[in-house]
Amino acid sequence: MKTSQSTIYSTVACNLDQHLLQATLPLFASEKIEAIEWSFDTLFKVKNIPDWFVELLKTYSQANRLIGHGVYFSIFSGKWSEDQTNWLRHLKKTANHFKFDHVTEHFGFMTGSDFHKGAPISVPYNQSTLALGRDRLVRIYDACQCPVGLENIAFAYTLDEVKQQGEFLTKLIEPINGFIILDLHNLYCQLQNFSLSFDTLIKAYPLDRVREIHISGGSWEPSDVHPTRNIRRDTHDNAVPDEVFELLKLSLNRCPNLKFVVLEQLGTALYTSEQQIQFQHDFDRMQNIIHQYLKKNTPQISNTFLPEIKSSLSLEIPQNEELAQQQAELSFILETAKNHSDAHEKLRQSSLASTDWKIENWSAYMLETALKIAQKWKQGW
């Protein structure tokens, strides 16, 4: 196997946001930010990107240190939409303009009826969704012509789903020789929400396929249906918890093809100077962990994550009408149900009952959480 010496870049998720830029400016000025991750599909309402932001992207792009992170593609939507066609067209144009070192998207389908509204929710892990996801990933690769990856999702309805996600991700990325983003805060949510140990869960992920790691903060939310339990949510609106930094230390030497470690935080959680200073401290702490690791280890990347065989694309884009109907029904229930009991009853009477969705096994407190997520994001952002 051919290997090449590499390094691990300390990266920030950097978008056109005043407060995020205020928080990151001292890090840029002190030359600490080694790469940036840009959510290239979030500027859909902006007609003109400022010249300096374009120059920032180009500067990192020319050094092969710009990575793209999509938000809205919704790879598991049963029904293909014109918005997805446009998304791919936009990606192709953007990837021609700025050279991405790789491009990533999120696992799941977006609940919203509008392309830019809703939140990603998981799908059944079966042959049908596998085929759909594989096809969509090939189309993303066809548009960007660089390595393509998928991020593990924080949300799960059941413990079985948590344990099976890694295996399903592995199958999904196989045709494009893709990679995964291991989001450690998403993993932390699953460890907390399903009372799992890190050693157990991490073994379920294809760690040789990890090219990027995310760290971020989140929040705790009480559960009405399970009063003794607080639900951990990946809200990106707080400092990175100590536990997630510990997960980073534990993960570095398990991911031999790792290239980027990204600190993510919402600009809306960086309004005060205290929050901005905390963000800078989090970056320094992340970078220090990486540098300590690199003092003792020289990463030898053995995978280009480029497809070995070019997959052919059918002119007719595969769709799954039954899945689309179920997703529309689920989205409507999640967005409109009064509470967990109401949602549970409506699901029991829906077309999702007694299917691969396995709604009969869903944890009550996670269904309650799904309602909160879907209802939070149904008006978009």
Binding site: L16, L20, W52, E55, R232, D234, T268, T272, W377
Partner: protein, 60 residues
């Protein structure tokens, strides 16, 4: 990674201008008046939305 001084100056200037006028965000594009948003405890306008305010990771 080292950035050109002119680029850092441009970012600094942009942030300074944004702090006075409000950055061009999706909020403005939808004509949401940030200045009339519900104030936070420290008196600043409460953000309605922003580029980084996204649902993407599945537990947001």
């Amino acid at each position: 990674m080292k950035l050109p001084k002119t680029l850092l100056q441009a970012i600094t200037l942009s942030i300074a201008i944004s702090a006075v006028t409000g950055i061009t965000t999706s909020c403005e594009k939808e004509n949401i008046d940030r200045t009339t948003a519900e104030p936070t405890d420290d008196g600043d306008p409460k953000p309605q939305c922003g580029f980084e305010d996204c649902p993407a990771c599945g537990m947001g």
